[in-house]
Symmetry: C2
Subunit: 349 residues, 2 copies
């Protein structure tokens, strides 16, 4: 870290549109006070920087020669593309030259590079992907959304502890409520894994409110929802898909007659506010928690706003010393987490 400002390494080649989307987004974050290191093909990056009048901003460029494609397998990306933008960006964090990394590239490869290049915080059994999602009221953190499958109760407890810190330090929630995602609110409802996790959560320092159901995620009445990555990934993609479908159907219906078109025009401001509430871009990416350094995984289709917000989220995470709080929280619960076995790591990537 060259100075007090958080420095975020940004994978300029990631996402479906690469530097053309990523660089303007990074420039915008730099204007808001984040130090940026853009990692990728230097020529393309410089061209975009010039086009976005980035002179005078705290933006470094690190040239790399390889790109991880969307269809590359994570293990291959790790072994065969050592000079890829995402791997080099992670290395900058490991070497202390940046505080966090943001990528909209191949998610599996980003997770794998994060895991193996950065390494886990001591005591972390499995790093987990958290997703910050909009609700009717405050945003909710859903964890894990796909870094792990077949998790054990002790893993789930750690997911909850890490998301609790995210909710406090990044979203500013004072004492986040934490729920276990299940299929009934009463204790004793759920599958074997959730039932076995209940007592661990109850014994922890978390503000545990018991089981929550699928319908509770979007009410905004719970701040952190904990689940295995298989369930969380399905929930996340289902939500994205359903919100997208509903928007599409609504647009189609509103265009179906002159009258409804006129009506839609008059209600434009309402629609914009509606879109803002259901818009994932508001929050940007999914932070991979539990590593020595933060990695934020963005959607491949991220627009500039989503990328900028992901970079700002990473910066807030660093500024508010979330890492120290995370390590302390895990440490305080070591005896609980060790109870139920750490098991081997089943990466879903």
């Amino acid at each position: 870290m060259p100075n007090d400002k958080p420095r975020i390494a940004v994978d300029a080649m990631g996402g479906d549109f690469g530097p053309h989307i990523v660089v303007p987004a990074a420039v915008k974050a730099a204007r808001e006070g984040v130090a940026i290191t853009l990692v990728g093909d230097e020529d393309s990056i410089r061209k975009e920087l010039a086009a976005n009048s980035a002179g005078g901003l705290d933006i470094d460029v690190v040239h790399t020669t390889q790109i991880v494609e969307m269809e590359d397998k994570p293990a291959d990306a790790l072994r065969r593309k050592r000079d890829s933008s995402i791997q080099v960006a992670c290395r900058l964090v490991r070497e202390g030259k940046a505080d966090g990394v943001v990528s909209a590239g191949n998610s599996g490869a980003t997770v794998a590079c994060g895991m193996f290049v950065l390494g886990r915080i001591k005591g972390v059994q499995r790093p987990a992907l958290a997703s910050v999602m909009p609700t009717e009221k405050n945003p909710v953190v859903l964890i894990d959304v796909g870094a792990n499958v077949d998790s054990k109760p002790s893993h789930l407890l750690q997911f909850g502890l890490m998301a609790d810190v995210l909710s406090r330090d990044v979203l500013g929630v004072e004492k986040p409520t934490v729920g276990l995602l299940s299929i009934g609110e009463e204790e004793g409802k759920g599958n074997a894994m959730v039932k076995d996790s209940f007592d661990l959560f109850r014994s922890s320092d978390l503000n545990f409110i018991g089981n929550v159901e699928g319908r509770d995620i979007f009410t905004g009445d719970v701040d952190v929802v904990v689940c295995d990555g298989f369930v969380g990934n399905i929930a996340l993609k289902l939500s994205e898909g359903l919100a997208g479908s509903m928007n599409k159907i609504m647009k189609r219906e509103l265009k179906s007659s002159l009258l409804s078109k006129l009506g839609a025009m008059l209600s434009m401001r309402a629609f914009k506010r509606f879109k803002k509430v259901v818009d994932y871009a508001e929050y940007g990416g999914a932070p991979l928690l539990g590593l020595k350094g933060l990695a934020v995984v963005c959607h491949g289709k991220s627009n500039p706003k989503a990328m900028t917000n992901a970079i700002l989220m990473a910066a807030t995470f660093v500024t508010n010393k979330a890492h120290e709080h995370l390590a302390a929280g895990l440490d305080a619960h070591q005896s609980l987490s060790n109870g139920a076995g750490s098991g081997e790591h089943n990466s879903a990537a």
Copy 2:
């Protein structure tokens, strides 16, 4: 069965509003040619029948003295409330006096009564709840949405076989496409249970298209989506919750100014069509498949339209001999289903 018309036993006391909602819904189904047996408190039922001018329709009434409350435990409902409307309705099916049962009462109790009073079709390891959900195009069948947790691969295959019949016989899909719900499309993505199920599905006669993801459920590109009941129940409730939240937010925004109110009025028809697409009431209830006789579980908050549609769905199921097709399909795949062990039954109810 007194004649060719399917006869459906309807739990008149079920749902948040009992006979007041259920009886008019049943009357409407009777007008469309379904023979009905209303089960519950005779006085209340007769009053509602009179209020809905049901004279001349093929509607029987069977009096019962007990009601399963929403907070009753399924096992208690089964043991201590033998004269409850839901248990008696199931008994009518077992005794051949009705062809199917529809209830909006306590879901867990309905599932338990179905399981224990009706019994399983020979060869069925675990009956499963199917949900028919609206999409951008054709409806999709999601199975299991909560009758089982910790399912095994052979259970999942049977869920797929049963939902395939539902899709053909009730929704009229000629050769339904069947997908396994997972967290990546490629074979080998998913948790241990899904990975172990993939080959079973591939070896079956199903029109198996491989893994599908959460985002694929609502595109309408797959007819049947198979998953464990823990995942399916979360997916179902999440969808209901998200669709409800989006509707609520949209309404709030549209009422926020005079201009947007006016716009909303002009677009009213479009909104109505939108609601129709995302409205679960279109399809009614969730059929519990694999029993000797059909039980359809409806949402406690079901409106009359949802109840009527659930009764019509049950009648179509019977008319099209779905039960025979279901038994035949399971029989043809017996060697596959027996491979991966049936295991003990973990009811989620």
